[in-house]
């Protein structure tokens, strides 16, 4: 746990302080050497490392860790390609025309536009980052960030398949997610301050050709968001291996506790939004409202997303944005559940 906690904060700190000390103690020219040494060490120490990892709990940790990374990487790559395409091939004037001029109206339009990004939350973080850099009003980009993983057709279909007996669950998920995304967008308009958003410095590719800019953006986003994805995967694997599922049974008895328990579980487990409906369906000892909370909170804020948001928008932003999103998502889910379920 210590590793997973300290890594994002340290990395985010480096981001916030600009690019001056990113190399840390090792001079720049040494990183290929360090990488080579690491690879050689890893090959030489294979045997002892394998023995150390032989314990069942370590094996299951590794399997879940690798599975989360392998599962998320294709979606991350998709998001990174889209974000590079937005950054290089779509002129800023396009968004100025496509979105309503008034930010308060742009927020719901951007939330609804989330329906067109097929994928899970790993894809939406780099895309939202590119939108902000492309001059889209942050409130609208954030609304898109929150709604895209929850309301795209793939996720809604998966929800319908997972809850064959409760088709109203799909509607409830759509409505609650859209409401939270819009509310967060408007909240940002009201209270948000531009200096909380501190995206790390990026190399400018002005005047160097589109190929350089495109692949430069792909490389940067994969290395950056990928690193934070690994942090999130480690945290999720640790919780999956350590938390006994027995305590869930006790939590299910009290309605208020059960909603909170599943909301926290959604944050901790960091399951891909395309699969979370099946996990929610299997938590059958919980009420539908509690399970709706799980489905609304999960795609908007979890450990993996928090790490990736801190990397893309800066730690100061993530520390304020994540709790607000969590509270709002829980509140809206309970209300939607009371009305629709």
């Amino acid at each position: 746990m210590a590793i997973t906690k300290s890594a994002p904060s340290r990395a985010a700190h480096t981001d916030a302080s600009g690019d001056g000390d990113e190399g840390g103690p090792q001079p720049d020219s040494k990183s290929p050497l360090v990488l080579t040494l690491l690879l050689v060490m890893a090959v030489l120490l294979q045997g002892p490392v394998r023995r150390a990892l032989g314990a069942p709990v370590m094996q299951s940790w590794m399997t879940v860790f690798v599975a989360v990374v392998v599962q998320a990487l294709p979606f991350l790559v998709l998001g990174v390609l889209l974000s590079a395409a937005i950054a290089v091939f779509v002129p800023p004037s396009f968004f100025a025309r496509a979105l309503p001029g008034r930010p308060a109206l742009a927020v719901p339009v951007a939330s609804a536009a989330g329906a067109v990004l097929p994928g899970c939350e790993c894809a939406s973080v780099p895309v939202a980052g590119a939108l902000v850099r492309r001059g889209v009003t942050p409130a609208a980009a954030l609304a898109f960030l929150l709604s895209a993983p929850a309301i795209n057709p793939i996720v809604l279909t998966a929800t319908a398949v997972a809850f064959p007996r409760n088709p109203e669950m799909v509607l409830a998920r759509l409505v609650a997610s859209l409401l939270v995304a819009c509310a967060m967008g408007w909240l940002w308009l009201r209270l948000g301050r531009a200096d909380w958003l501190r995206p790390p410095a990026r190399t400018s590719y002005e005047g160097q050709g589109k190929g350089v800019a495109f692949w430069g953006s792909v490389r940067h986003d994969v290395m950056h968001a990928g690193g934070f994805l690994v942090v999130g995967a480690m945290a999720a694997a640790t919780l999956k291996a350590v938390v006994p599922s027995g305590w869930l049974r006790t939590a299910a008895d009290n309605p208020a506790v059960s909603v909170l328990a599943l909301a926290i579980l959604a944050v901790l487990l960091s399951i891909c939004s395309e699969a979370d409906a099946f996990v929610a369906a299997s938590l059958s000892q919980f009420s539908l409202t509690a399970r709706l909370t799980f489905l609304v909170v999960g795609p908007m804020i979890d450990l993996k997303l928090f790490a990736m948001q801190a990397g893309t928008f800066g730690r100061g932003f993530a520390l304020r944005f994540a709790p607000a999103t969590f509270a709002l998502a829980v509140g809206v889910s309970v209300l939607t559940g009371a009305v629709l379920l």
Partner: protein, 242 residues
């Protein structure tokens, strides 16, 4: 991490994804349907690595080699973490989830819409573990009585040493895999190692127990014959995906 190192990490990551996607390795971690996306993203990562190396080489030829080197071009140290899944995938290649996870997670048996009649021909009927368990619990074994049934799964032992036959069911990746368990009774082999794959033949029995983890129902199978088999091509049960 400078750009040469980034290029190397991107290349290795892409190669690892291609390797996992071209062999059956990826089936230990994710659903079978993710394969095209894995291969495509592996190819994109390799392309990004080659493009980075190419532009870096060209830049080195055009500019002065250490012109503005050393700032604004490096990614933060968190990028180094990308080598961890790389090592895990290439060097260790952890196995698919087995008995340890199975006994720490409650059974995820689901009720089906209906239970279509089973083929009448033949003496021995091959069923998936989840299908047997669901019919045994929610259909009260109506379609199973008087039939010889053959099921494949891996062995898991609970604290008291009682044997279960388990199959992990998966929706997306191993992080959401959940076990479906059936208890074994009857002529069980005297020595059972956890995680060995067995093909058991037996008959329906109305006996049931409750999963100690989530109180879910666990049906039993009365074993007449058990034989060790190779682990199947896809270790997970993916019927929920269809």
């Amino acid at each position: 991490m400078n750009r040469q190192a980034q290029s190397a990490v991107l290349f290795l990551l892409g190669a690892a994804l291609l390797h996992a996607g071209l062999t059956d390795l990826y089936l230990r971690y994710v659903k079978a349907g993710l394969r095209p996306m894995l291969l495509a993203s592996g190819a994109v990562l390799i392309a990004a690595a080659l493009a980075t190396a190419w532009y870096e080489w060209r830049r080195g030829r055009v500019d002065h080699p250490d012109d503005d080197h050393g700032h604004a071009h490096r990614e933060p140290r968190v990028s180094w973490l990308l080598v961890l899944p790389l090592f895990a995938l290439i060097l260790v290649a952890p196995p698919a989830l087995g008995s340890y996870s199975a006994m720490h997670t409650g059974t995820a048996l689901q009720q089906s819409y209906g239970y279509p009649a089973l083929p009448a021909a033949g003496r021995t009927l091959r069923l998936s573990l989840a299908d047997y368990a669901s019919r045994a619990v929610y259909d009260h074994g109506r379609s199973l009585r008087g039939r010889q049934i053959r099921i494949t799964g891996f062995v898991a032992l609970d604290r008291s040493g009682a044997p279960y036959l388990v199959r992990m069911a998966l929706n997306c990746c191993a992080a959401d895999a959940q076990p479906v368990k059936i208890g074994l009774t009857g002529r069980i082999p005297p020595v059972l190692q956890p995680d060995t794959w067995l093909e058991v033949t037996g008959t329906y029995t109305p006996r049931q127990t409750k999963d100690p983890v989530n109180h879910g129902p666990i049906p039993f199978l009365k074993v007449t014959r058990a034989a060790p088999v190779h682990a199947p091509h896809d270790p997970y049960d993916e019927t929920w995906n269809t």
